[in-house]
Amino acid sequence: MRELNIVVCIKPVPDSRYWDRLSLDPRTKTLRREGIPTVISPLDKNAIEEALRIREAHGGKVTVISMGPPNTTEVLAMAYALGVDDSVLLTDRAFAGADTLATACGLVSGIRKLGKVDLVLLGDQSLDGSTGQVGPQVAELLDIPSITHVDKIDFVDDDTIRARSRIELGYMVIEARLPCALAVVKEINQVRLTPVDGALWATEKTTKQWTATECAVDANTIGSKGSPTYVPEVANIQMQRKAEVLKGDPATIARQLIEKLKSAGVIEG
């Protein structure tokens, strides 16, 4: 078996346990996320786990790459604690405000700078945006084959993987030659608990921080400047109905409700 260079793209997201504290800035239409902890997007953790398992089986190196403000290094430390070998943070105002295509462009500039890569792994969808677009777009821009919705990865030989891609009511089994990109779903594995020496490992490691200039990327292809889409309008959603309140004794509620549903003609009787 030959050793593999594996890159995992991870997205820092606001911890969903605190989402009720998120609010929208009506002027900038961006999220106010002060005081809300940032974590690794859950499926990206599955991608890290899979990368570690592949490293354990084949040997090689796992590098995580992310994009965000300088304090994103705290999130990358969590990846170190899980056992990755190296981490890179793309951090530059020029990267900010990116849609999926501009995000993919930025990540690709960092991946190229890393040198030879055999496998790119990432979560199939992020916790917050949930578009699932960055994975296939990274692969397109790197011009390598890729498979999404992956819940199983096997090696056919040193240079060929076989992945199972989940589709509605079934799956497809797809083979691709390395280098390739795989977007994984939750079912692929159980993420390990942070090992006891992980925290120590994390303190010994530092994250490389690269600017857009260092990645030699065209500033017109990244950040808000490089984003084909923008958000002209954000509105609160109106889905109000009459909300007739029924409360009290369960038996009484049950009788009242059934009467109302019958007269509305939605149940028989």
Partner: protein, 334 residues
């Protein structure tokens, strides 16, 4: 790129096992509305093999033009083959708008095409419209479903969006309406197809899909456990209803993600009656039920968001209310 050179609304109509998917037909309905507003043509694009006869029928669903590309390479979905062909067609014919059904395959295909032709794509759109300048506005719930964002793509074409199944109603077929069929000459280099599909497995659907049920009983994270989930299922059994779930309930393993999850990234349902319990009412879920005729919510918290979106808001513990409902319904049956 000249924006004004791009005209017309395109819908990618996916086929699986040689059958056109409903979501593609639903999007032709939505696309027709956009095309009429713009005063432009609506086209369907179909990739497959032996699919031409079915593709022709899309005229009856509103398509003015149907592009059919047939090749053994298109029989089963292949990311490279499909994205190269669709991107080539886009470059050649320059549509202003391209809508793709948000299936597992559509969500794989659309971002590749967008990257290939360097344009913007909005994911999981739950509405589409054009503004006064004729630009596409795709509505997407954002920030945990707290708000609805409009996504625009002003300087790139085509303007792309993926739209889940069930968001738009399937238009009725109009007899006699014919589309102009354009047979695409496929010149795809097989060497550019870098992945190989070695197996396709499809499970037979055991039960009726929930989106076809007249009554749906749904549960969320607040149901609290697998044991309590039986209460949800028992009420459904008494009512002859389908059982739906929110994403967190599926994540807990109480219900099946593929078959039962209702919401933006799951199914959209339009039953006569929807009864939800243990559901707080994130917009992601509410979007999937908003066209129900009657909505009943059972929640201990009168202020839970689902309560204001319901016709009847029952304040109480579902573990007490639902057994009472079941008893009352059984009484009525005797």
């Amino acid at each position: 790129m000249e924006i004004k050179d791009y005209k017309g609304v395109w819908v990618f109509v996916e086929q699986r096992d040689g059958k056109l998917l409903d979501v593609g037909i639903e999007l032709l309905g939505a696309g027709r509305t956009l095309a009429d507003k713009l005063g432009q043509e609506l086209s369907a694009v179909v990739l497959g093999q032996g699919i031409a006869a079915q593709a022709k029928t899309l005229g009856g669903y509103g398509a003015d033009v149907v592009y059919v590309a047939e090749s053994p390479l298109f029989k089963v979905y292949n990311a490279d083959a499909y994205s190269i062909q669709l991107a080539d067609l886009v470059r050649q014919h320059k549509p202003a708008i391209l809508l793709v059904g948000g299936t597992a395959i559509g969500m794989d295909l659309a971002p590749r095409v967008a990257a290939k032709v360097n344009t913007g794509l909005s994911a999981h759109s739950v509405g589409v419209d054009v503004d006064k300048d004729g630009c596409l506005l795709a509505k997407v719930p954002a920030f945990g479903g707290a708000v609805m964002a409009s996504i625009a793509c002003p300087r790139h074409r085509p303007q792309m969006a993926t739209i889940p199944a069930g968001i738009f109603q399937r238009p009725a077929a109009k007899a006699g309406k014919q589309a102009r069929v354009e047979t695409v000459k496929v010149e795809l280099d097989p060497k550019k197809v870098r992945t190989k599909t070695v197996e396709v497995f499809r499970e037979e659907l055991k039960s009726r899909p929930i989106e076809q049920s007249d009554i749906i009983v749904a549960g969320g994270y607040g149901v609290g456990g697998k044991e309590n989930w039986k209460i949800v299922e028992e009420l459904a059994a008494v009512l002859g209803a389908g059982v739906g779930a929110t994403r967190p309930a599926c994540d807990e393993g109480w219900a099946k993600l593929d078959e039962q999850m209702i919401g933006q990234s799951g199914k959209t349902v339009r039953p006569k009656l929807y009864i939800g319990m243990g559901i707080s009412g994130m917009v992601h879920h509410l979007i999937g039920i908003k066209d129900s005729k009657v909505i009943v919510a059972i929640n201990r918290d009168e202020k839970a968001p689902i309560m204001s979106s319901a016709d009847y808001a029952i304040v109480g513990d579902f573990k007490e209310v639902v057994p009472a409902l079941i008893a009352e319904l059984k009484k009525g049956k005797k």
